[in-house]
Amino acid sequence: MGLREFVFKRLIDGAILFFMTVTLNFFLFRVMPGDPTAFLIENPKFTAETRKALLKLFGLDKPLWEQYLIYIKNSFTFNFGISFQYLAPVRDLIFSVRLLNTLALMIPATLLATILGVIVGTVAAWRRGSKFDSTSTFVSLVFYSTPVYWIGLLVMLVFAYYLGILPFRGSITPGIKYENVFQFAADYLWHLTGPLLTLTLVNFGGYLLIMRSNLLDVFSQDYIVAARAKGLSERTILFSYGMRNAILPIVTLTGLNMAFSISGAVLTETVFSWYGMGRLIYEAVNQRDYPLLEGIFFLLALMVIIANIITDIIYAYLDPRIKY
């Protein structure tokens, strides 16, 4: 099967997952609660006209299967109704600077965690059984066991409260007037440091362990033995033979890890009051803002599905042996 067919097949899989997400969302927010109107319309802040318009938009007076069709149609346009607390369309709230802020936190954190995990994992595998190996494995186990938000609290306690070199909360200093772009960038990066550090620390352990076990697997292969027998230098064996093969599965892991990473980001954003999607989920939950919650969950699920398809395609492109 060629790469083109593979891409096509993955896109179809993606479409199926999309419909499964829509169905799950419909089930969660329309079927499961006894009275869906309470979840979508019965907000004392809404006017009678708004309620009537929403009832019509979701077709709540129609039979369930018709509601489902309307729901699919609305999902394509991210039409999830009006937020209870912000009194604005959910679509406008999720496609905003908040989404950019979340991406600005998640993408660098994932990249940093991957690089750090690959480097430390390689050294650990190379010096298997050494003090460095056992320590790094144990440290990654500890980071896996530690709640993200607690690490966030510790980071703030040390760097903001005791040392005073990082801000406590938020993504920018409130009420500040920026003279130029650089000033804004500096302020933004200053606020990003804490959450970025936290999320990177929590994510890197997984990459370390996978990289280490991948390399150990590769080292036991025949071609490594052959390379040694040929008298190649240890450097060549490690970089050209070992790492090249061990690093490939990391690509897939990055995609799969998106789901894990999003969970971490939600908690990190909450702790640092980072103005992103994760923080928005927290607000939506605490205000019982169901339409907003529905929209965010749908968007996050969609992001993970898309990330998975992209990493699968990159993997198939990088590794010509894999053609499903």
């Binding site: 927010f29 709640p147 607690w150 510790l154 409260y161 894990f260 969970s263 939950v285 969950f297 699920a301």
Partner: protein, 296 residues
Amino acid sequence: MNKESVRIKKIKLFGDRVLEFARIYYRNKYGLAGLIILTFFIFLALFAPFIAPYTPSDTFLAEPFSPPSSKFLLGTDELGRDIFSLLIYGTWTSMTVGVLASLLTVIIGTFVGIYAGYYGGIVQSILMRLTDFFLILPALPLMIVLAAILGPSIWNIIFVISIVSWPVTARVIMSQTLSVKESSYVEASKALGAGDTYIIFRHILPNVTPLIFAYVILNIAGAILAEAGLSFLGLGDPSHISWGMMLYYADQFGALVAGIWWYILPPGLAISLLVLSFMMIGYALDEIINPRIRRR
């Protein structure tokens, strides 16, 4: 040989295997350390009312946020409750939710995994799709949504955690079932006219049990973290104090800005230690069950 002596022999063989297992386990220093920490926490959970100097409802409203002293070992929270006592009472919540959620997860996962692996066909492909779907979905947001819809109660949290985390177990059990199904002794049983139920309980289940065992332990670690996370987001059961909830209140009442470290450090440390102990035990079991790793 009569039936009685066969039974005695069987028991003796079983005893030998348990001893052998204990010997291998004892040599694993991670596993041993994990077991010691876990025993400590189980002790705290079971005897909380006898160990804790106060109960969660003892409030000293005149002494909120007081630092550690001989009266309050780890200081007090915003209501003047003894943090040390809350910590001890919180152990029970974390343990119960972790263990019950993990058991439910593994029961669902095992049932689905064996069913899909054994019967195959359309059931298998639907289940595969479903597990893939659940594996891809971001777990915490899904738990948040479910917990928000169902409302805060300890049973809902257990349900929410297991309904989101069963697919991983189902996956593993299914692939194990697939390989056991093809073995010659299953084929022999079939040829002798054994029914599906007999084969599943007699051959498949005993073969996947060791795996189930390791997964229960590793799942407890995940479930404890999930419960703490949900509680930290304010979705916990207010009638049962838990470590995640303590961090939620600490955060809500500005313990951080005031530098009240005695409210922030202990609950997180407790979560970390308990999860770590389960992880270490899980890895030790995994190493013993999958001897291939042992040489690494």
